[in-house]
Structures are given as structure tokens and as C-alpha cells.
């Protein structure tokens, strides 16, 4: 393996850049990949790619799918995400706000934010009843299934609030509001999801007041 530490150079460490390239390939491809395909996508020889994959496996970031020659991201990646969400005070504030809104209203609340080029759910508070829909952290959202995606895509209604009947599924409704960042643009969205008779578009509904209050509290506390 050689003296790896001696490889650290003033202008960075080339092998970290290459490992980053390989990890980026995993992010772009949402299926387990063969070594030759990974190597080609990262512009590496197969032997070189294999050496990197071995190290990424030892670090817990990549795993070989059981009984196949394909590779995929592994559970070590979850530790990285957990660190971002729970050790960064700003992210933690957003999650606590979602949890408190759910506790207060009894409804499911999701926290969604742009991650890379997508709008991704980073936290779900289930509410008092577990709804018959599978909404969980890691879910990628788009305009067709998510009010948050519409809010974060700049398609929010008046005052950044959007009510969507029939989203995320036909028998449910969503009420979403953007959380403004320092420049006033939404950096995240809180969305209440529940039965249509509970989650209405009524501007005087207690649910909307609670949602507004949660976002205002985040702003008053220094913003997201």
C-alpha cells in the first residue's frame, strides 16, 4: 500500500479527487453497476477502479451486491448524511421545526430541500396516525407528486404557500410553505400531508396558521 501519507501534496491529493469521481458515478446511476461500467464512467482502467473500490468498501461507502459482481452505495453513506442533518445546527433547526409542527397539528410533515439538482425529502414526521403512503427520507420529489418541489421550483402561491389537493396521492392533500434563506429565496420547504378534509386551502385554517408560525419562527431565529 506504500506510505499513503507521503502522497499528500500541497495542491491536494489526486487519489481523493479520483475517489470523488467514482462516488459521483454512483450518484448519477441509480442501479448497481459492474466494475467495467464504473471504470469507464470514471475514466479509469478496471484495475485502477478496482483498487479504489476496495478502499471505498473498507471505508463502508460502497458494497458489492450479494452474489453479483455489481457495486452500489453502502450504509457508511448514511453516517455522512446523518452527520450533515444532525450535527449542523441549521439543518437540525429545520428538522426540529418539522417535528414540532407535526406534534402540534398531529399531521404528517415533511422537510424537503434541494440536494444537488433534485428536491429530496430529508425528514418525515409521521404525525399521530401513520398514513397509508410510503413517504420517507431520501425520496426524490417532482412537480407531479410534491407540493414542496413546486415551491422550491419557484411555483409557490401567494406568500410562498401552496395547497395541492390530490398530492402526493389522489386521496391526500398537501400544504407546503418555503423556508426563506438569507436572500429571501426558499432553501427548504415544510409540507403538511393529510386527509383532504383536514389539510385544506382555507387561509384561516389552524393548520395554515401553524405552518406560517413554524416558518416565521425559523426566520426569526436567524433563517435557515
Amino acid at each position: 500500500m506504500g506510505d499513503s501519507r507521503a502522497r499528500a501534496r500541497q495542491k491536494g491529493v489526486q487519489s481523493i479527487d479520483i475517489a470523488g469521481r467514482l462516488l459521483e458515478v454512483f450518484l448519477q446511476e441509480d442501479r448497481p453497476m459492474m466494475l467495467r461500467d464504473l471504470a469507464a464512467a470514471a475514466d479509469l482502467g478496471t484495475a485502477q477502479a478496482l483498487a479504489y473500490l476496495h478502499s471505498l468498501k473498507r471505508l463502508g461507502l460502497v458494497r458489492q451486491v450479494a452474489q453479483s459482481a455489481r457495486y452500489e452505495l453502502a450504509e457508511g453513506c448514511l453516517e455522512l448524511a446523518g452527520s450533515v442533518l444532525h450535527q449542523d445546527p441549521e439543518q437540525e433547526r429545520l428538522i426540529i421545526a418539522a417535528q414540532q409542527l407535526s406534534d402540534e397539528t398531529g399531521e404528517m410533515v415533511t422537510l424537503d430541500r434541494p440536494v444537488g439538482t433534485e428536491v429530496v425529502t430529508v425528514h418525515v414526521s409521521q404525525g399521530r396516525q401513520r398514513l397509508a403512503i410510503d413517504t420517507r427520507a431520501g425520496q426524490v420529489n417532482d412537480d407531479a407528486n410534491s407540493a414542496s418541489a413546486q415551491i422550491l421550483g419557484g411555483r409557490g402561491g401567494a406568500e410562498g404557500v401552496l395547497h395541492c389537493a390530490g398530492l402526493p396521492v389522489p386521496h391526500m392533500s398537501s400544504l407546503a410553505m418555503g423556508v426563506p434563506g438569507p436572500d429571501g429565496l426558499p432553501v427548504a420547504a415544510l409540507t403538511v400531508i393529510g386527509r383532504p378534509e383536514q389539510v385544506t386551502g382555507d387561509p384561516r385554517s389552524p393548520l395554515l396558521l401553524a405552518l406560517r408560525q413554524a416558518v416565521r419562527a425559523l426566520q426569526d431565529g436567524g433563517g435557515a
Binding site: 450518484l27 461507502l61 453516517e79 442533518l85
Partner: protein, 269 residues
């Protein structure tokens, strides 16, 4: 095939990305000097690694934390991608199958469904014991070890309405186990919260005993409950006994695979 040879790896990758583990373990942002002290690397080496780790987005400089370094946006993307692609139930069943074969005892997995604890998979182990629970079976919330773990650890409001429905329809043969009132098992639920597991001896199925333990997910929520079961004479229900330890270790192993990290989540009450 060359793909089957044990490769040497790339030491600088393991050293550099290993720095991320120091940040995770610290529970917050670290300065370059702190990273150096924890890793044993020189100032120059740490600087070089930081340059590349921040360029890849695995590490990020946090100006709000006096220029210390946190896990970066690429770390979040990697974790969320893993969550999105992960089949939690398949992962859990892989572990269940391996453990059931090793131990020889049966193991069942249940999730919280809209009618109560619902079996999603089971492995009989090496036993020829007849079990009445199969995928799709619904456990009594108050009359099974698994049901009691759900009752002890889920929000009370989430459990109450379904429990009341189970009690009202208990005579229809819909549930595995009887459905005693919640008030009758209050002390038992406290004990389950304290011990983190439930046991049952020769009930609800005569001749069969079980240990039930919680599996948590990335958010720290109760994702499922596993129960390890076998004939009464074989099962040791002592907390320090092999079956209790095996059930808890299995639950912890599955929880870790689902991304549960008590340290990162902190105690939120």
C-alpha cells in the same frame, strides 16, 4: 478472473476519507488543527486532504463555526441516494435468514400497518414447530411480544385507535393472539421501555416462547420489530441468555444497516 483477486486498495483514499470519520465521531465541526491531532497527520498533509475533500464536496468549511469543517453536501447526497435505493425489508430479511440458520430458531419481522403489527417475513430456522403467523398476519398489539414492543415505543395516539379496533373485533379471528385491554399491561410496557425488548413464555401460542426487539431507521423511528421464537424448552428468556442477546444483536445490526445512529440523532426525548 482479475475481478476476484484481493486488490491492494489506495492508502491515500483510506487516510483522506478516513478524516470524515473523525468529523462524524466528534459530533460537530473540527478545525484543521483538530483533524491533525485526531488523525496523527501533519499540518501539510491535513491541508492537502482538506483541499481535495472540499473540492469533492465531502467536506465543507463552515464559516459560522469559525472556519471549522463539517461533512459536505456530497456526503448528504450519498446518504440520501443510499436511502432512496435501499430496500429496508429485503436487507432485514437477509440478516434474519442468516441468523435463523445459524441459531436454528425461527425469526419473524413485523411492521406497523394500518390494522396493527403486520408480519412481512419469517424464517422458520431449523425448527419443525408450527407457527400460526405468516406474512400478512396481524399480531395483537397487547397479546404478543412484538405487539407490545410497538405499543411501548410508538406514540400512544398512533396505537390507541387501532388497539381499540382490535379489541372490538377480537372475536373474529383476525389477529394472532388475544387482545387484552391496554390498561392491563401498563407495567409491562414500562418494563419493555426500560429493557428495550419484550418476551413471551408459552403465549400466545402454547409451547412457543419469543423475544421481540425493536429495529430503528435512519430517523431513529421504530421501523419494524423482530421476534425470535422457538419451543419453550429451548428458549432462554433470561436477559443475559443467548436468545435475548441474539435477538438484540440482530435488531441492532439491522438498525445499523438502515442508518440508525443513536449518537448522531442524539437523545430527543
Amino acid at each position: 478472473m482479475s475481478e476476484e483477486r484481493e486488490p491492494r486498495g489506495v492508502g491515500a483514499v483510506e487516510t483522506g476519507i478516513g478524516l470524515l470519520h473523525h468529523v462524524i465521531a466528534a459530533g460537530g465541526a473540527l478545525s484543521a488543527a483538530e483533524l491533525g491531532a485526531r488523525s496523527g497527520l501533519s499540518k501539510g498533509q491535513v491541508h492537502a486532504y482538506i483541499l481535495s475533500l472540499t473540492a469533492t464536496g465531502l467536506l465543507a468549511r463552515d464559516e459560522a463555526a469559525a472556519g471549522r469543517y463539517r461533512i459536505g453536501e456530497t456526503g448528504l447526497r450519498l446518504g440520501l441516494a443510499r436511502l432512496q435505493r435501499m430496500d429496508a425489508h429485503a436487507l432485514a430479511m437477509e440478516e434474519v435468514t442468516a441468523t435463523a440458520r445459524d441459531l436454528g430458531q425461527g425469526i419473524a419481522l413485523a411492521v406497523w400497518g394500518t390494522s396493527g403489527p403486520t408480519v412481512i417475513g419469517a424464517h422458520p430456522g431449523n425448527e419443525r414447530m408450527r407457527s400460526s403467523a405468516r406474512p400478512g398476519s396481524i399480531y395483537s398489539i397487547t397479546g404478543t411480544a412484538s405487539g407490545r414492543v410497538f405499543a411501548a415505543l410508538l406514540p400512544e395516539a398512533m396505537v390507541r385507535r387501532i388497539h381499540e379496533h382490535q379489541v372490538a373485533t377480537a372475536g373474529e379471528g383476525l389477529y394472532f393472539g388475544s387482545c387484552p385491554p391496554m390498561a392491563e399491561i401498563g407495567a409491562e410496557l414500562d418494563r419493555i421501555r426500560a429493557q428495550g425488548l419484550a418476551t413471551s413464555y408459552s403465549w400466545p401460542q402454547p409451547g412457543a416462547s419469543a423475544v421481540a426487539a425493536p429495529v430503528r431507521n435512519f430517523q431513529g423511528e421504530l421501523e419494524m420489530v423482530l421476534s425470535l421464537f422457538g419451543p419453550d424448552p429451548e428458549m432462554e428468556l433470561d436477559l443475559s441468555g443467548p436468545h435475548v442477546r441474539a435477538a438484540v444483536a440482530l435488531a441492532d445490526r439491522i438498525s445499523a444497516k438502515l442508518g440508525y445512529c443513536a449518537q448522531a440523532l442524539r437523545q430527543k426525548g
